[in-house]
């Protein structure tokens, strides 16, 4: 009996569910993003950009045939131990390319599965150099940590006049640890002093770490950590009346963090990929779509402020479409071969890949939270040669 049941179950899983009344053939794109866990909020915002692009352009012409683009979602749970099964799920569903992920660790953890299956992956906001280095299947459309770390260090040292920086990273999170490392290199080179600390995953008591920073006499608190931790750091910093500004990377660019800082006197400064207002046509369309879809609005944190990660998701989707067009087939290996030559003008700027598969980008936006309104404010655009 159990045997029969399991066979039936297996059959039900293996047989594809036939779509009704669909004339167009389907090309599948994998969305490899966290929908739960510490980076869940960020992953959802990144997926929103992809979804919006998919609503805007639901089909693509490959060769002479028009295809319907189907998004296949896999939740990597923001954790490197859940990432393998999410990656395998995408591989098993036969996607032509993968978009994602938010967070470098999960991207690296899933990387080998995509490589073994010959599927190209386009990193949207995973900034650690290790994601693309030494492989030919992982590409990325955002800037890298060595660049971002240098920008932040320069900003902290020259503009804020900081001489002692306290850095805090989550243990074993490749994104945080990497970015802190590059920040440290650049900051020390400029002549500053850096103290770094780490906290274990799932920690929620940041009082002691804020204490540590104060005790060391830090001028700036650099914590490029996941949104979940960033909000707590901001709130606990507010309760402690800290005097130093909190500096962060692109992960902090979320209205969730801005909301946490609203009504406090904590100064939050970040670097990011996009500033709302740079492309009014996109802003308007995206906001209209968010407001028309209650689920999307909830996933965006309840309001229609545009996060840079959504923009990157949007650009990533079009990059994938360009690659499909260039390949002339849905075969993933052909798409991989076509990707290095793909160029396009995205909302976040011009996209082109270098030899390692990284986007060629030379500028980052610096933003801060207006604590009165809870909005992000543009500070400056920073370039490093």
């Amino acid at each position: 009996m159990k045997k029969l049941m399991s066979i039936l179950l297996v059959l039900a899983m293996v047989l594809p569910v036939f779509a009704l009344a669909e004339d167009l053939p389907v090309v599948k794109l994998g969305v490899y993003e966290p929908a739960s866990g510490d980076s869940g909020a960020g992953g959802k915002q990144e997926s929103l950009g992809i979804q919006y692009a998919n609503v805007e352009t639901p089909t693509v012409v490959i060769g002479d045939q028009e295809y319907k683009v189907e998004l296949v979602y896999a939740d990597n749970g923001s954790s490197t131990d859940k990432a393998p099964s999410a990656a395998q799920q995408l591989v098993a569903s036969g996607v032509s390319a993968v978009l994602g992920s938010y967070g470098s660790g999960v991207s690296i953890a899933g990387s080998q599965y995509f490589a073994d299956a010959g599927i190209p992956a386009i990193g949207l906001t995973c900034t650690n150099p290790q994601v693309t280095s030494g492989n030919s299947h992982y590409f990325r459309i955002c800037f890298l940590d060595p660049f971002q770390g240098t920008v932040l260090a320069n900003y902290a040292y020259k503009t804020l006049g900081a001489r002692t920086a306290y850095c805090l990273a989550e243990l074993g999170n490749d994104y945080d640890v990497g970015l802190v490392n590059y920040f440290k290199q650049a900051f020390v080179e400029l002549g500053g002093m850096v103290i770094d600390d780490t906290f274990p995953t799932g920690n929620s008591d940041f009082n002691s770490y804020l204490n540590n920073a104060a005790m060391y006499g830090a001028d700036v608190f650099f914590s490029p950590v996941s949104i979940a931790y960033s909000t707590q750091i901001v709130q606990q910093a507010a309760a402690q009346n800290v005097t130093f500004p909190i500096l962060g990377g692109d992960t902090l660019d979320s209205n969730v963090v801005a909301n946490a800082a609203k009504g406090t006197n904590v100064k939050v400064i970040i670097t990011t990929f996009y500033q709302e207002g740079a492309n009014p046509a996109f802003d308007e369309g995206f906001k209209a779509w968010l407001n028309s879809d209650s689920e999307a609005l909830t996933n965006n944190g309840g309001n229609d402020i545009i996060s840079a990660v959504s923009v990157m998701g949007y650009d990533g989707y079009y990059t994938a479409l360009e690659a499909l067009k260039a390949a002339g087939t849905t075969d993933s290996k052909a798409v991989m071969a076509a990707l290095p030559a793909v160029t396009l003008i995205g909302v976040s700027g011009e996209i082109a890949f270098d030899a390692t598969g990284d986007a060629i980008r030379t500028s980052a936006f610096v933003k801060t939270v207006d604590t009165a309104t809870g909005d992000w404010q543009f500070v400056t655009e920073q370039t490093v040669e």
């Binding site: 739960s36 510490d38 780490t198 005790m215 060391y216 909000t231 309760a239 009346n241």
Partner: protein
């Protein structure tokens, strides 16, 4: 030196008080059922989630707090009835596994309901406010916690020592079978134990999450484990032991987090060593040391096995 240590001490006392409130639930259940209730940390987490949802549905804050206490106690009662009572005659390992199953279920249920996203805990006026004492600025809740913890513990000890149900509890924990023969209604005693334990966990959760404002399905795991360690440390079955154990663990853990700074400031080390990595591990190291040298904990009674 004192100014360096003081802020850590303060955080430690606060978190220790919150562990104490959870630890009491562990120690009471263990005292009566000889069961490590692995789901207790998750009950604590569920209390936090319930608060988030009740407040966001528009219920006034004072009523929300009452509701959270009530609902959490009810959840504790139901867990016992559904998952532990049917196994009363089963081997102890089965019950412990059932507890692990309940913990797994609660976490997955919360994961499903929240979509796996961090929930922001509502702000409770006054105790969320900032206050400055000496060299430390902290939330009011840091000061409220130890006071409230001690009041509740004293009340609980009075209840156990001076009421009929308290007497029944003591009898059951002394000898399960004999007390049953003496006509004590075992099931109601056990239910009361779970209700009290869950109630205190709910109070602990309100204080804890007011301090650390984010709730997610795994939020209960580490505090739960630490509170259990505190209960073992103090001598499992002993309420004052659990409370003292919890305070010691809370303080030590925070001192470790600041140990680099303290050593650095006093000139013992030249560069930070990253000792904060061991703040969780230290708790367990302490546990193993105490178990090896005094297996019954600080205040536990010595029990000899009958052959």
């Amino acid at each position: 030196m004192w100014n360096t240590v003081f802020p850590y001490l303060l955080s430690g006392i606060s978190v220790g008080g919150q562990y104490a409130l959870i630890a009491i639930g562990y120690t009471m259940v263990y005292g009566i059922l000889r069961l490590i209730n692995f789901a207790h940390g998750d009950v604590f987490m569920v209390a936090g989630i319930v608060m988030v949802y009740v407040v966001s549905s528009g219920v006034p804050l004072w009523l929300s707090i009452l509701l959270v206490l009530l609902i959490t106690s009810l959840i504790g009662f139901l867990i016992e009835r559904v998952a532990y009572k049917p196994l009363r005659t089963a081997p102890r390992m089965s019950v412990m596994i059932s507890a692990i199953g309940v913990s797994y279920t609660l976490q997955n249920l919360v994961l499903y309901i929240t979509g796996g996203l961090n929930q922001i805990y509502p702000t409770i006026p006054w105790i969320s406010g900032s206050v400055t004492i000496g060299s430390a600025t902290t939330k009011m809740v840091t000061l409220v916690t130890p006071v409230l913890t001690i009041i509740l513990v004293v009340a609980l000890v009075q209840l156990i020592n001076h009421t009929k149900i308290g007497m029944a509890m003591r009898a059951v924990s002394k000898d399960f079978e004999t007390s049953q023969l003496m006509g004590i209604k075992i099931n109601s005693v056990i239910s009361v134990t779970f209700v009290i334990g869950s109630f205190l966990a709910a109070v602990g959760s309100i204080l804890y999450f007011t301090n650390y404002t984010t709730v997610i399905q795994t939020s209960g795991a580490m505090p739960g484990l630490k509170a259990f360690v505190a209960a073992v440390f103090g001598g499992i079955g002993s309420i004052p032991g659990a409370v003292i154990g919890a305070f010691i663990i809370g303080i030590m853990e925070n001192i470790i987090k600041g140990l680099d700074v303290i050593l650095f400031k006093s000139g013992v080390i030249k560069a930070p060593l990253g000792l904060a990595t061991f703040s969780d591990a230290f708790t367990f190291a302490l546990l193993i040391v105490i178990l090896v040298f005094k297996p019954t904990g600080l205040f536990g009674e010595k029990v000899t096995d009958k052959v």
